[in-house]
């Protein structure tokens, strides 16, 4: 008999931190100590706190271990498993208190897990474990006694809205799908997650594939679709493998097939892999891609619910949307709509990244404030002061200190110039240059624009050119207004969601950090000391000890001096590589915002670009 359940987090973060090696070492040592028959090793999906990885949970005590290394395994086996003495040194300590179990860790305290309920708790490859948590009860009940309209009404009552970014009411979308009559309809699960720094859908598919599948079956039944597609990008091989495995298992037991639960409802699904184009997250482009064509959007209407995949009515739902369905049907729509505020009900999964202490996957009720999300769940900043947070990735916008108490809902974020997006949250400290950040996101969308419509294809390129000039000291008066003008036109005239949202990072940073843009354009200065063209290095002679280390490390030999006279940088030759700054033992080298007057004068005289 087993007496210990050992849960090893095998989410992407922990695997890259070495979780699989730890698992192998456990198997080796358990065999050596004759404990293999007493310990159940379970590979789970993402437990959330990726920053602590690799993490383990050990039941029945529920002990939570963080940052485990291969060398720790032996002690865990001999001390904890054999003698029952949990290792305090591997537990989380916060506020000088030892947090033994998951529940005691502040990271988990404000979280409410609905879509992620089983993620990190069950073995994602085991159908039985999913069934043990109540799996397939919802689809079973629906098939045994509910009509399609009743099913849709429950989703409408719950107030569930699309979790992929737009926030369209899911029940309404299904209603359109049901109303359009056809001999064949399709349901598609959109798992083309492309925002930099977002991994919500990935973790769900890897951590609880059966839940997403059950959600898809419910959606399929409601709209009358007998065939489903998972559109997953090829960068997610584990997600693809697990969905395929789940499909295979369900076919074996007849939960996918011609006559599910003896109701006559037939359903089957398959995986289509995407090549990783950001635009394929847009539903019409995604449909083109499944059809085998170039991933380019088509004008709406006709909406996919009317004429979608191969011209048939199609409903496209995001992974997280589908993952919420099982809980809505098992616990009732009132339970779901009791969470959240206003028109935003339920919970939302966020991928928390950037300069926060606890990066990782979190699920919080809608309506939580940004302050709670970043400072309570996220544990605050790693270093520096909070400056801004980017929500919604390259389609979203940034919010600042004064918006921290805004409750997070679909509407409140749009009003502030950001958006829910799929849930990427990038927290930035005061060492970040907002102009540079906006340029980074713009670079991404320029690259990912499919090129079909010209406002997006040419307009974004123009905007990028201006941004590039500004960060390199070639900004002119009027550039900022030109950016705003271009951005507005691109938003209005673009065909699909990519172009309609791509100017957001620039527009929102101008809105909140206009003075930073102006410093770049007028003063040729980067206040955050990030844009290399707009800073210079200088040596503080009162601190310099004349050790000559900087002069010896300078690749262009532009530092000279002596022990008596101290050292100085010749600004004109300086390439701003930063070596002198790194090597100075007494921190006498300073980074100063703005171009040095010598370089500036030379550039003026030659009327050429300032570098």
């Amino acid at each position: 008999m087993k007496r210990i359940d050992l849960l090893i987090c095998c989410g992407s973060g922990c695997v890259s931190a070495g979780a699989l090696k730890i698992k192998d070492r456990f198997i080796e040592l358990l065999n050596e100590n004759d404990l293999r028959s007493e310990v159940n090793i379970i590979e789970t999906g993402c437990m959330g706190p990726c920053d602590f990885g690799p993490v383990l949970m050990i039941y029945p005590e529920g002990v939570f271990y963080q940052k485990v290394t291969v060398d720790d395994v032996e002690e865990i086996v001999t001390e904890h498993f054999l003698k029952g003495r949990p290792l305090t040194r591997l537990m989380v300590t916060e506020d000088e208190k030892l947090r033994v179990t998951k529940k005691e860790i502040p990271f988990y305290k404000k979280q409410v897990k609905v879509a992620l309920e089983n993620c990190g708790y069950i073995n994602p490859e085991s159908m039985d474990e999913y069934i043990a948590t109540g799996g397939f009860e919802a689809i079973g009940k629906i098939l045994e006694g509910m009509t399609q309209v009743e099913t849709i009404n429950i989703v409408k009552e719950s107030g569930l809205r699309g979790r992929g970014g737009g926030g369209f009411p899911t029940g309404l979308k299904w209603q359109f799908g049901l109303n359009n009559q056809a001999d064949q309809k399709f349901i598609i699960c959109n798992a083309d997650e492309g925002d930099p720094g977002a991994f919500m859908d990935r973790s769900l598919l890897e951590g609880d594939p059966y839940r997403v599948l059950e959600g898809m079956m419910i959606a399929g039944y409601a709209i009358g679709a007998t065939k489903g597609y998972f559109y997953i990008r090829a960068e997610y091989p584990l997600a693809i493998k697990r969905i395929n495995l789940a499909l295979e298992e369900l076919r074996k037991v007849g939960l996918i097939g011609d006559n599910i639960f003896g109701s006559g409802f037939a359903f089957d699904a398959e995986v289509r892999t995407g090549a990783g184009a950001f635009v394929c997250g847009e539903e019409t482009a995604l449909i083109s891609s499944i059809e085998g064509q170039r991933g380019q959007p088509t004008p709406k209407p006709p909406f996919p619910a009317e004429k979608g995949l191969w011209g048939k009515p199609t409903v496209v739902n995001n992974v997280e949307t589908l993952a919420n369905l099982t809980s809505i049907f098992n616990k009732g729509p009132e339970w779901f709509s009791s969470m959240g505020v206003g028109k935003s009900k339920g919970t939302k999964v966020f991928a928390l990244t950037g300069d926060v202490k606890n990066t990782g996957l979190v699920e919080v009720p809608m309506g939580i404030t940004l302050r709670d999300l970043i400072f309570e769940v996220g544990g605050g900043m790693t270093k520096g002061k909070f400056k801004a947070v980017q929500l919604g990735g390259p389609s979203g916008g940034c919010l600042t200190e004064k918006d921290l108490d805004t409750p997070i809902t679909y509407e409140s974020l749009v009003e502030k110039g950001a958006m829910m997006g799929s849930g990427g949250v990038i927290v930035m400290n005061d060492a970040k240059c907002m102009v540079n950040v906006a340029k980074f996101f713009l670079d991404f969308t320029v690259e990912e624009s499919c090129g079909k419509c010209f406002p997006c294809r040419l307009g974004l390129k123009q905007m990028y050119g201006i941004m590039d000039n500004i960060t390199k000291g070639r900004g002119k008066e009027g550039d900022i207004d030109e950016l705003i003008r271009l951005g507005r036109h691109i938003k209005q005239a673009s065909l699909c969601g990519l172009g309609q949202t791509a100017p957001n990072p620039v527009l929102s940073t101008i809105r909140y950090f206009r003075e930073e843009y102006e410093a770049h354009v007028r003063d040729k200065s980067c206040p955050a000391k990030v844009c290399t063209s707009l800073i210079h290095f200088d040596i503080d002679k009162s601190k310099c000890i004349g050790c000559s280390l900087c002069a010896r490390k300078c690749p262009v030999e532009c530092i000279s001096g002596s022990r008596e006279d101290k050292y100085a940088i010749h600004q004109i030759e300086c390439t701003k590589c930063g070596n002198c700054f790194d090597v100075c033992p007494v921190h006498a080298v300073k980074i100063i915002p703005g171009v040095h007057y010598e370089t500036f004068n030379i550039a003026q005289a030659a009327t050429k670009d300032i570098y």
Binding site: A132, G134, F136
Partner: protein, 120 residues
């Protein structure tokens, strides 16, 4: 799998296999596994307990271990902790006694008074 009843049957079995992760067990048996406990054969006692529970298909009992209990002269020591009842501690347990404890105490609810060293 053709009906909801079939599904529920699978669920019951699967939930049993996952019981360690739920806190809904009726009885918890804690074996003292300090150095002296192990030296006196606590491992054997634990193995016997686990085997007995498995062969008798007892579902609502979990076996756990703890460190030194401070009663070195009476090792191996085990605690039987039951919600709402006094905790009973047995001393000088061996595999034979462990079997009797399972049969009489865990299954029939009658503590084996011969081996009890403390109640609280």
């Amino acid at each position: 799998m053709k009906t909801l009843a079939d599904l529920r049957k699978i669920r019951e079995k699967a939930q049993h296999d996952m019981k360690l992760r739920n806190s809904g067990s009726r009885i918890k048996i804690v074996v003292g596994m300090g150095t002296s406990g192990i030296a006196m054969g606590a491992r054997e006692v634990m193995k016997t307990l686990l085997n007995e529970i498995a062969t008798r298909h007892i579902v609502d009992v979990i076996v756990s271990q703890t460190g030194e209990k401070g009663l070195s002269s009476m090792e191996p020591v085990i605690d039987v902790i039951e919600e709402g009842k006094e905790t009973i501690t047995y001393g000088n347990v061996n595999p034979e006694k462990a079997k009797r404890i399972i049969a009489e105490h865990i299954v029939n609810g009658q503590p084996v008074t011969d081996y009890i060293i403390s109640r609280d």
